[in-house]
Symmetry: C2
Subunit: 523 residues, 2 copies
Amino acid sequence: MGSLDANPAAAYAAFAADVEPFRPLDADDVRSYLHKAVDFVYDYYKSVESLPVLPGVEPGYLLRLLQSAPPSSSAPFDIAMKELREAVVPGMTHWASPNFFAFFPATNSAAAIAGELIASAMNTVGFTWQAAPAATELEVLALDWLAQLLGLPASFMNRTVAGGRGTGGGVILGTTSEAMLVTLVAARDAALRRSGSNGVAGITRLTVYAADQTHSTFFKACRLAGFDPANIRSIPTGAETDYGLDPARLLEAMQADADAGLVPTYVCATVGTTSSNAVDPVGAVADVAARFAAWVHVDAAYAGSACICPEFRHHLDGVERVDSISMSPHKWLMTCLDCTCLYVRDTHRLTGSLETNPEYLKNHASDSGEVTDLKDMQVGVGRRFRGLKLWMVMRTYGAGKLQEHIRSDVAMAKTFEDLVRGDDRFEVVVPRNFALVCFRIRPRKSGAAIAAGEAEAEKANRELMERLNKTGKAYVAHTVVGGRFVLRFAVGSSLQEERHVRSAWELIKKTTTEIVADAGEDK
Amino acid sequence: MGSLDANPAAAYAAFAADVEPFRPLDADDVRSYLHKAVDFVYDYYKSVESLPVLPGVEPGYLLRLLQSAPPSSSAPFDIAMKELREAVVPGMTHWASPNFFAFFPATNSAAAIAGELIASAMNTVGFTWQAAPAATELEVLALDWLAQLLGLPASFMNRTVAGGRGTGGGVILGTTSEAMLVTLVAARDAALRRSGSNGVAGITRLTVYAADQTHSTFFKACRLAGFDPANIRSIPTGAETDYGLDPARLLEAMQADADAGLVPTYVCATVGTTSSNAVDPVGAVADVAARFAAWVHVDAAYAGSACICPEFRHHLDGVERVDSISMSPHKWLMTCLDCTCLYVRDTHRLTGSLETNPEYLKNHASDSGEVTDLKDMQVGVGRRFRGLKLWMVMRTYGAGKLQEHIRSDVAMAKTFEDLVRGDDRFEVVVPRNFALVCFRIRPRKSGAAIAAGEAEAEKANRELMERLNKTGKAYVAHTVVGGRFVLRFAVGSSLQEERHVRSAWELIKKTTTEIVADAGEDK
């Protein structure tokens, strides 16, 4: 509608004095706007199943629909809501759709959304305890509750079993990447100190390690923290460990570096990789790293949530010997974005690198040492009251419902896996550990297979993914595991029921049949 | 109530099959929970004025009120709401209170809260364009709107005036610290390349600069990015520049480093420091930095919002010559936490350091180069739909109301300043640039002053702050400027009206009189 060569100066509207002064937080307005928003949310959840999961919009579509210059005068809130419904919603990828099977689901719940709403209305900035005592303490409490659900040792909790402060503790951050970054920095500084570095000069000798299946954000976090790209070791994995980190290979790499005069500094182990849900053996990794006094971080962003069920808890065995662990309730514990819980065994190692103490934040409570100032465990200073939604989720649903939710997702994934295994055109490529099924149209080995060789199989699977996603009735993503192009079917979107999984499978079968038919016609 | 030595295993409740399966996002439940939350918010805004701004709670108070073990079974949402009202609210520091004058206000509005609610319900994760096209495009649009309100040159916008993609662009981040960190990393990598560093070896030669009034988070961000603490230059400021950065001193420091074979890499200029709202001269700083090809970042976290008014825009003069600028609508543009807008003149310099390209995120749109994948301009991968609330604020209130809001706050601050100047027991310590007044009980020079000398003045002002804050009727913070202990009176909490400012002044006068009387009795 508008265009950017419109004179921006037009936005400098002269201030026309209204009769009423402007009250942006007038309680009646707030209630009225929020009721409209709640109506939208209600309608959205009622209808999202019928919306195309992946919209068929072209780059720039929205910029063509909405005005390119900011309005100079105010408009009823209904205008924004109308443009939201008519212009924004049609271009959304609907992560809340029960037909969303891509990436990992962003699970959510009524309690979490309500908690987030209240937090955004209170709008506290809890950088220090004094700046928001209840926000800090509720966050600490929620983290300790979650630590108990996960069966983490008391050494990671903010309160010891005796009720006093221990050396461990947690903090809620925005992303796993931030958890990696702050622990990398703490480990880096410790390694510089113990290797007798003059300032940061010794950073060129520090080495870090992770399996090649580790999330790319780890390698990015290493670069952010200043590690030398040449010293970031990506340890190869293979089918023999189901793409989990092989402790023997890790030991070999760390020993070779140590022998070469380098300083092994940090190992990242993943419980439930993003690519295929591989699990690195936490205890064995910790044992190897201990020989070099390297920091071990466990990234359990997705699968950590499953560990609230006793039958999955073994994936964390050995966690008492690592230095830090992070997991994201915004992935699989029904807590809307963003909520990544980082636990460290010795908070002083973290705060030693992250503490700031500007004059205007000084106060008696901080000076007393009796309180936690959460700004000293994160990148920034400002922080939202994210503990509220996490606490509300646990308070309202309890361990029982949360476990039920995990088990229901896993059961649906198992159902999908069985369906795949029952059709010999397909294969499950790696063992299913949680609620992610990695499968593909198999290369021709028997008469039933439709794609000859790996190249053909990749082509057929790409075609399948693209056709599926174009229907708007399902959204699946892909990965490459052991050189094979694989479809990822991630179960768990919070509105999902078994019927959605079964419908998706029917669509996959039908689309595959069409691909076979089209391939036949092409010949 | 509970205690942490309760057996955590109790949390592993056996899964008792309910009649109804668990539906965490049932639309009727969502609506019901949200209506309760809206009622809470309405009551909160109606009553927050009467709540103590700063609660009188002791460390650990909440942990004594709430159970220390997570519940094993579910509970009605009303239970969480009851504990919120009875245990959490009494321990909150009420940033939304009109009697809050500490730090900077966290301004907010009905449109922003509604936008945040909808974003948390849609719960998209817009790491790539494809993962949420509308979320990416609305964020880009909102940033371009704001750039126009700020009078930023087109080189910082995502769209050029001709409608195509330029080299500039923006991204919404969580905090200013993150904006500093990612630009520091981009500048670091560029400096390493141009200085011919072998890997990161040359990092020991890179130097960074900021005025001594710069937010402490800048110095922390430098350390996070691996800069040598010995190479982080804090340039002294004084009353002669109203505590703004002196370009001559900057030049001297940069030249000395360059002469010593070091590589000046990055300068942070602040428009509106946290301590006293000092303003570094943006254009002059840019001119100095240009001699050394150093990156210039402008931190306008708070005062950037004021620059939407033509009468304040001169504080950004010269911005067309800097490399990046960040400002936080969550501070003064009525957008709830968190929302920091980072603009860079050449996005490729940022994405060159921050890009990742894992297999499972590859897609045609990204490959085409026609879209922005915002994950490549931030620390993490996951990201909330923060553009929605920012867009809703501008769409609903328009430039006119936003300017009115800024001007109203500044006018109230001016009123307070005049009241202070009218009482010769007090002095305004530095010129008021925006809506922050730095004042103090003045040391005795005339008969009217109550504190003899600087030490006495500090004692009296500390006493004043503590007594004020203990009343619960006002919350002010302090700083130290030029060695003087000063009270910060920040106007602008969104529910604030002139009567609150006048009441706070009455309280300040009354409390000061009491302090004088008590001091007299002590003698």
